[in-house]
């Protein structure tokens, strides 16, 4: 689709996720444990 040059492009200032989101993801990763049993995989979130 053709870009409409009459519209100003939105300024890309500070386009990054919140610290809380990053923190959540890292904590989620630490808490996530994948257990393999035979050919099955189970996910567990450890406290």
């Amino acid at each position: 689709m053709a870009k409409i040059y009459s519209h100003a492009s939105p300024k890309n200032d500070n386009l990054k996720p919140k610290e809380e989101t990053i923190s959540f993801l890292l904590n989620y990763s630490k808490a996530l444990s994948v257990i393999s049993y035979n050919e099955l995989k189970f996910e567990a979130l450890l406290n």
Partner: protein, 194 residues
């Protein structure tokens, strides 16, 4: 560029082997690129935040499950996940569009709740009952055409085929059906409005 790709692959490998810090490095390295990409599609910070989070949840789960095939393409893979989640978001939204109240003007001041309250439902039922009674008063040929047209949604071509008359005849019967119904309504002062 290639050096960075190799580094990504190494970080991914370390992460899979239990080094949580590698994930932190990967996210820090690519977060702006991925976030900007999502934002360029949805133009909403909150939605971008959600999609970004969901993207990495998928990334984390896939890596931890050992289902990731390293081909030196970590970032394109993550971008693909983000892209698909953006599409999912648009699909969900097209089914049920959201209205955002900006404070000054509420869309609900011009949109009304289309569900009928009990009183209006009763009136609607009464009107429909009365209409059916009036239709019953019509001559058989007119009644037949009207029922086929209004209640069975048939075209006049289908009606003419079914009743064995020409389309013009079917049209004429429909016209007279309506004229006669109006006569009955006027003569008996029937109110058919809600």
């Amino acid at each position: 560029m290639k050096k960075e790709l190799i580094q990504d692959a190494e970080l991914v490998s370390n992460y899979i082997n239990g080094d949580e810090n590698s994930l932190s490095i990967l996210i820090t390295r690519h977060k702006q690129r991925i976030y900007s990409f999502i934002y360029s599609k949805v133009y909403d910070r909150d939605i971008t935040e959600d999609v970004f989070q969901d993207t990495f949840i998928k990334v984390i789960r896939t890596l931890k499950r050992g289902k990731y095939n390293e081909e030196g393409k970590f970032l394109p893979w993550v971008m693909r996940i983000a892209h698909n989640l953006v599409i999912d978001h648009f699909r969900k939204n097209s089914r049920m569009p959201k209205f955002h109240n900006t404070g000054e003007f509420s869309i609900f001041s011009v949109l009304s709740d289309s569900s009928l309250n009990a009183e209006k439902a009763m009136i609607k039922d009464q009107v429909e009952f009365d209409v059916r009674r009036i239709i019953e008063e019509l001559p058989e040929d007119q009644k037949q055409v009207l029922l086929m047209r209004m209640y069975q949604d048939m075209s006049f071509k289908e009606i003419s085929e079914r009743t064995g008359v020409s389309i013009n005849t079917a049209l004429g019967r429909m016209r007279y059906a309506l004229i006669n119904m109006r006569k009955v309504i006027e003569q008996n002062n029937i109110v058919l409005t809600n």
